[in-house]
Amino acid sequence: MKRARTFLAAAGLLALGLLSLVRGQAEALPPGPGRDLVLGKCQACHDLQYVVDSKGITRGQWEEVVENMKVMGLQLTPEEEEVLLNYLATYLGPNPPPPQAENAEAAEPRSGEALYATFCASCHGPEGRGQANLFPPLRENPALQDPQYPVLVLLYGLEGPIAVGDQTYQGIMPSFGHLSDEEIAALVNYLRTAFAGVKEEVGPEAVAALRQSPLSPAEVLKKRP
């Protein structure tokens, strides 16, 4: 009995070690106002490594990058563009401020609706209708009926062909595991109520439990109901 407990404790600690690896490129982006815009807008077509790789360029160069991204389909209001450029030019510019401890605990957790607008709408659409052939709709998506699967997708991302209705999607969904348990729960609850009419709520403890066993995006696909 004692040996089994020891083994479990050790395995748990190993898993904790893996957690730090799962956080990924989102952590390479320094905290600062506008960081969420990068996370929400810049993963539709490529992963964040492109953004991180350009760290150190001037504001003028970032402006050129953003102009080119608009040609590629990036949509920003003028206010968003200002915030985004300020973030990129400051925190990923030639003279970034010294890193500060991220106090995520102190920040007010955001509502599911606000999180959706920041992180999800750029791909899945403001109404959750997706984009044909590119990003699946969330509205009336049967996968939202399952209480665990949406949490897994947010924690670890998703990769591989999926069918939603009569359409197949071949994209890659990035992980949003950098969000807190509370925020992931709030977001999943928003998706389920707004788009799937499900009243049953998912709590932060459920999210924390699913964080204990990291999965690859391809493994998340296998869990799809």
């Binding site: 190993l14 070690g17 690896l21 990924g24 490529h46 350009s54 360029i57 970032w62």
Partner: protein, 404 residues
């Protein structure tokens, strides 16, 4: 365990991370490994982007092969075919290619006919035009993937000469046609983004262009453009358009975002860090590969024993004329010796060079410069060619070694 102390906790967490990394499943930053991005690739490749597939070959692997095997060959996809993230081939049967534009006989054909047409083989350097971009940071870092030297390889393509296809199909080009634009079956990631395509001069396409079906003696892997890739020996990688779908003959280059302003360099030097408004007149596309050499041994940062040290590597250019000399300096360019040069059969392939240099203890630098028969030489300071997107780096290659 009665008590879990801090040291044990940390040790086990570290072991967990190490275990995962050793098994190759998750890289240090939580990004997928190269074999998870493109099925079949060596997991030791550096992952620059997992979405479409951008992988760089470490020099330790690249230098081991005369012909770069597909498992370690770099890859840079702007867009990707859904079934294209694998080294498995796609059969050309049923793969329709259409011909448009300034031809009297516009048509579509099944790529399977290419198997029965006359074929040629060409050994050539395939190099991303962003290869070496990270070195521009010596003056001013540019945006884009920060390649070192691993965005290149030496491969053999086999396929139908473009000229042969044009004649076989009896296209009857209109005399005014000056460019050929190739677009692949891959699609852009959003509806608003332009669909990747490139234009090359028609004259050169007819002279050396190939519709490649094979790479290194095997059917062309899907990830590298199979079943049909438009190959231009001596041109930068981006111009070798993958997954050929439409071939268009025209009077001008395409206006597509990928032809302008992307994948272009100014015609004249500009101040590092400055902005540049690209036009067709003041800039040129990443067509001909600039003369270049890369040191394969010793590697940057390596420790070597004092005395005679073997320095070796490769050199190449756009294939118009051979490399004439490769010069090596160990005193930061004050004095040079000429390395022994081995010429390949193909003008587009790697030349191999090697020489011994005497190094005494301390921190030393080894500089290498290639010169070709037209007198084109690598600049001592590659940032002289600084451009806003960091293309076409070809500065004299420099490695710093610690001599003990």
């Amino acid at each position: 365990m009665d008590k879990v102390n801090r040291r044990t906790t940390l040790k086990l967490m570290g072991m967990g991370a190490a275990l995962l990394m050793a098994s190759g499943r998750v890289r240090a930053q939580g990004t997928p490994t190269a074999d998870q991005v493109i099925q079949g690739k060596d997991p030791r490749l550096i992952v620059h982007n997992s979405r479409t597939g951008v992988l760089e070959t470490p020099l330790e692997l690249l230098r081991e092969h005369q012909r770069t095997p597909k498992e370690i060959l770099f890859i840079r996809n702007n867009q990707v075919l859904p079934q294209g993230k694998t080294l498995e081939p796609i059969a050309p049967d049923g793969w329709i290619i259409s011909i448009e534009g300034m031809v009297q006989n516009a048509q579509a054909f099944d790529a399977k006919i290419l198997k029965d047409l006359p074929q040629v083989e060409v050994e050539m350097v395939l190099q991303c035009s962003g290869n070496g971009r990270s070195f521009f940071a010596r003056a001013q870092r540019t945006s884009g993937t920060q390649w070192k030297h691993g965005g290149m390889g030496n491969v053999v393509f086999k396929g139908v000469p473009f000229k042969v296809l044009v004649e076989h199909l009896k296209l009857n080009l209109y005399p005014g046609a000056k460019y050929v634009t190739v677009n692949g079956k891959d699609q852009p990631p959003t509806l608003q983004a332009p669909d990747f395509e490139h234009s090359v001069p028609l004259e050169e396409a007819l002279e050396k262009g190939i519709l490649a079906l094979e790479m290194n003696g095997e059917p062309l892997p899907a990830a590298h453009g199979g079943p049909v890739r438009f190959v231009m020996p001596g041109f930068y990688g981006t111009m070798n358009v993958k997954w050929v779908d439409r071939i268009r003959f025209d009077v001008a280059e395409t206006f597509n975002n990928n032809q302008i302003p992307r994948y272009r360099v100014p015609n004249h030097p500009i101040q590092p860090g400055s902005e540049f408004n690209f036009t067709f007149e003041n800039s040129r596309p990443n067509w001909h590969q600039k003369v270049k050499s890369v040191i394969f041994a010793p590697l940057d940062g390596e420790e070597v024993k004092a005395g005679n040290v073997l320095v070796r590597g490769v050199a190449w250019n756009d294939g118009l004329v051979p490399i004439e000399a490769v010069l090596v300096s160990t005193d930061q360019g004050r004095t040079w010796i000429r390395a022994k040069l081995t010429s390949p059969q193909s003008p587009y392939a790697w030349f191999h060079w090697e020489t011994y240099v005497a190094l005494s203890r301390g921190e030393r630098e080894i500089w290498v410069q290639a010169v070709d028969k037209l007198g084109r030489a690598q600049p001592l300071d590659g940032t002289v060619h600084w451009n806003p997107r960091g293309y076409e780096w070809n500065g004299v290659d420099i490695v710093k070694v610690k001599v003990v």
